[in-house]
Symmetry: C3
Subunit: 452 residues, 3 copies
Amino acid sequence: MNEIFKAPEGDFRGHDQQDVWSQTADPELSEVGPGTVCGEYMRRFWMPVAMTDQIGDLPYRIRILGEDLVLFRETGEGRLGLTHLHCAHRNMSLEFGIIEPGGIRCSYHGWKYGLDGTIKETPCEPVASQVKKKACLGAYPVIEYKGLAFAYMGPRDQQPPFPVMDTFDEDGDEMLPSLIKSPCNWLQVMENAWDPFHVVYLHTLAARVQFHESFAHMPMIEFHEAKFGEFYTNVRRDGDFVWLRIHDHMMPSFTQNGAHFPVPDRERYFGRCGLTRWVVPIDDTHTQVVTWRHFRDGDDPRGLTDKSQVGFGKTDFYGQDPDRPYEMRQRDPGDYDAWVSQGPKNIHSRENLSFTDRGVAKVRRMLRNEIRSVAAGNPVNHPTDDYDGVLPTYAGDTVLRIPAQEGRDDGAVLKEISFAVAGIFKDGDEQPIETRKQYIIDALKAYEASWA
Amino acid sequence: MNEIFKAPEGDFRGHDQQDVWSQTADPELSEVGPGTVCGEYMRRFWMPVAMTDQIGDLPYRIRILGEDLVLFRETGEGRLGLTHLHCAHRNMSLEFGIIEPGGIRCSYHGWKYGLDGTIKETPCEPVASQVKKKACLGAYPVIEYKGLAFAYMGPRDQQPPFPVMDTFDEDGDEMLPSLIKSPCNWLQVMENAWDPFHVVYLHTLAARVQFHESFAHMPMIEFHEAKFGEFYTNVRRDGDFVWLRIHDHMMPSFTQNGAHFPVPDRERYFGRCGLTRWVVPIDDTHTQVVTWRHFRDGDDPRGLTDKSQVGFGKTDFYGQDPDRPYEMRQRDPGDYDAWVSQGPKNIHSRENLSFTDRGVAKVRRMLRNEIRSVAAGNPVNHPTDDYDGVLPTYAGDTVLRIPAQEGRDDGAVLKEISFAVAGIFKDGDEQPIETRKQYIIDALKAYEASWA
Amino acid sequence: MNEIFKAPEGDFRGHDQQDVWSQTADPELSEVGPGTVCGEYMRRFWMPVAMTDQIGDLPYRIRILGEDLVLFRETGEGRLGLTHLHCAHRNMSLEFGIIEPGGIRCSYHGWKYGLDGTIKETPCEPVASQVKKKACLGAYPVIEYKGLAFAYMGPRDQQPPFPVMDTFDEDGDEMLPSLIKSPCNWLQVMENAWDPFHVVYLHTLAARVQFHESFAHMPMIEFHEAKFGEFYTNVRRDGDFVWLRIHDHMMPSFTQNGAHFPVPDRERYFGRCGLTRWVVPIDDTHTQVVTWRHFRDGDDPRGLTDKSQVGFGKTDFYGQDPDRPYEMRQRDPGDYDAWVSQGPKNIHSRENLSFTDRGVAKVRRMLRNEIRSVAAGNPVNHPTDDYDGVLPTYAGDTVLRIPAQEGRDDGAVLKEISFAVAGIFKDGDEQPIETRKQYIIDALKAYEASWA
């Protein structure tokens, strides 16, 4: 009997590590409500707040950055309005409001608001009433494009132009919107996209190959700066091919990544992104991931995409939503399970960041600097400050036939290629938008040929 | 592409109005728990706490003014008892207690309490035990009438007589009780009854005619004082008829209104109320509306009443409960949707009160004065201080044939009629209760004739 | 009408007793999270954390003492591991981890932990990485026995040997584990076992005889000290028989009681316990009762046991779980209803402890002393300090044929017998474990004979 009851040997430190339970999240980076420093910073940008197919003939109640709002399509020209939820008169919710041409009317006493929240009518008030001039309803401008509604919720005098990317309107590219909610803080969802190493385990070695077996190999990652923001090159060798996946980042939470179901078995020059993505805080502990999936001929040689699965609450690649049984989530966890299970607000002080977390550390540093700069009264630098028209971005897959070089360390070769390709992309910024794509393709081919 | 991405023009002030999100409810008027100033004030009155058809042979757990209580019918004479939920011995809930003649017994160790919370037996204690004398259970007196149980939860030395209204026992009037809960603060539910203007939009123009198409016309409202409290006259002209609806208010939350489905197409003299109503706080963010619906021959010429729909959680007029699909509530909102959607506790500092909110402003002012008076140690003035017997009230519909007067502004005419009719009602207070009704009817007819 | 509306007479003190609503629980005795004084004290003991039949081939998430943990069976030798829930790298939950020989691996980036939380592998990190040495995961040692997993969550230098009781491995005794959760603080669940008087009402007189009709008679209770902790003798006379039920207590929350369905109709010498039981805090307001039910020939002459009902979330005696309709719980309340309905955290300041609450008062006093002693830096006295091997315990039923003595007060007789039997049990501690049982039986028989 004694052997059974013998305590196991080992360096058990649960009690020594007890302070993990009293540590808390970093409010500077995680709190997004009105009046918070991070929230004020986030409010300097256009953000997608809803899928427009969710807006019917009734007001649509949403929550963004901790604010309860109502989104509606006025019945005149069909423009979208986005206002504070509660009527400025006596606070009845405008989700019960009456949509009219040019605005929305509260059903309690009939106050009517224009799209900008100006009070248009107060029908039960005396004619001489001045309340229309003294009061107003909080409202935000909305831009609608390809199934998404974007809003700017910051100070009016700091409203930037809408940043239009080169990936928003390309011939042969069908874009389908998607919006999926996660019950956790925005930052941990966003960081997942700055962490190119999690594909090795989470998406490949942990349970099964969720995307492509090449993801089991450790990539070489190099971070680079671009005019629109940051990007990284993610390089792997596959036989004679060097496969570069380029990932765009634009603060605060915009990312574009390569194709979802690529096969690096042939040359590919400046293939473009499979996903354009914003991570949008609903509030401190809820987040929506809003995306356009791009569908182009040739991006999916294995036929794994499924347009019918892209929409509200769903998408066509694995592990992005909660609609799987708990046991399936345990046996085959996905991105959703990774970020949600970090907790309602990830607690940085109990992490042990390492070499592979360079991207995560970098984005937190950048975010903190930007937040403090805005809090100090400085304007945000927008990429649209430098561009009048369409912004050039880089994300996508490029595959070059450059065999391993005898007598040279292949790691050094791949690193050299990373920087050369990044340079070609950056040179493309100087080209007119009409000829830039061909310029990059030609330059990539010439560079590949230089290794022959 | 540029036109699509151009931000809409307008005076968008969502960010300027951001402080709405940090504003909070007024604790002086909204907090009702034990020890709060509003709660102490509310505890000076008899209030309906339950429908008696919900009390079977088991203890009935309820929550009133933030207190968890148990209501039961003792098995001797069938009297109702109302005590604190937790046994005074070791806190087991008396919802699991044993109902006996004259009281309730805790099932844990058998302590038995009388209706007033006195400990009658402690069967497991030694005979010499003094605990029966030292301890007791909190209990409140209960009065039962026409399907409702009323309790007084205040200090014993300030317990007023039960205020009996003239509308509580009239020949030809069938009264059916109803109790409906709302997940919000009591005050916003109560204020709805002080706001005669919301009928124009909410009940008529917003979605459809919920009661009568005449409600689309703006009423003329005059507030008057009565011995029992306040009342207002709500006057509209319909052809040759002048339709006066009189609404009673008695602090803190008693109201009576006119008929629910009236048709002002003939003379009517001193028609009486369709609803007697108390708004009772469950706690700071939950409220029960407790009513008697009155059914009399002639009150409902269109046959819209439905006695079978009046009861626990329901009534026979639209929009008082949550049991409608969300889309129906959006398309055709009712009173419930108005007050619940103001939020768990309406935030007054983000309202813009106007001319039509005179009643709301008035009741808040009266309430604040009364609360502060009680907090300062003053007694409450009850209408029963002046009356030994039945209290005369006024609510109901009166329709007089008084055509528009050539050469006179009709608004001035209606105002004159309002005050004259209010005067007749107030004169009636001086009459013996047996002859008062006929006195008022005769006086109304004589007044009407004076315009012929 | 006046009689109807007359308030009932009585000494109603609900308002006088209003301060019950502002009283709060005693944090010193009820808060168990990391860093609390009670929590630190509880962490000095081995406690059952789970039923092992709940641990399959996936990580099993549990919560103990306010800590979120994952329990798993490594696939090498099948040992159990218990670690903090969140990976020490980036906080992904290890409920999504990969179980391997000797440990568990996080599925996000593949960090592998040994059973003691040591980092074994960080596959995405460079070979030279030192993070394995600098960081670790909190983990606790686990002992597995007869379907239960026990853990020690305290400081390593204060880890006691596992206390093995004489009741854990007896010939002819089948032991089946059970684990049932209650949504309330641990202390009120534990106290129920220190309160031998509740059987009179709750289990017998309140609704029906849940166990045996003899429980309707008030017992004579005497508390005694033993080497392993405390015990009490619970004595009743049934005709010529004196029925002694002995109940063991070991701090902080271990108890053993007599048979569940006994019939005191014949002699019985040192019958043993029907239940070995630990009350384990999940967190401040959730508790699990973890037991072994003992099944021996002769313990249940009426055939009321049902082994198929003993397991996860259930047991074979009435009233221990919530899986009964609310009306059934009201009509026939059980232990679960008693302790859960005291509230999420029982509030001692609104109790009126009396004679029958001596056990409850005693255990609170002992607990407070122990908590303060540990908080002051003292070690806990464990029964294993004095014993190398199996610990002798006493719980069970003894029935002696000792008729009432003419001319003597029977209460005095029963009290004398209580102390004599307690003395025999304590003398047994000095015997070798092999012969102790027979020693006690013989001594009981000799004592019984001395009364003949």
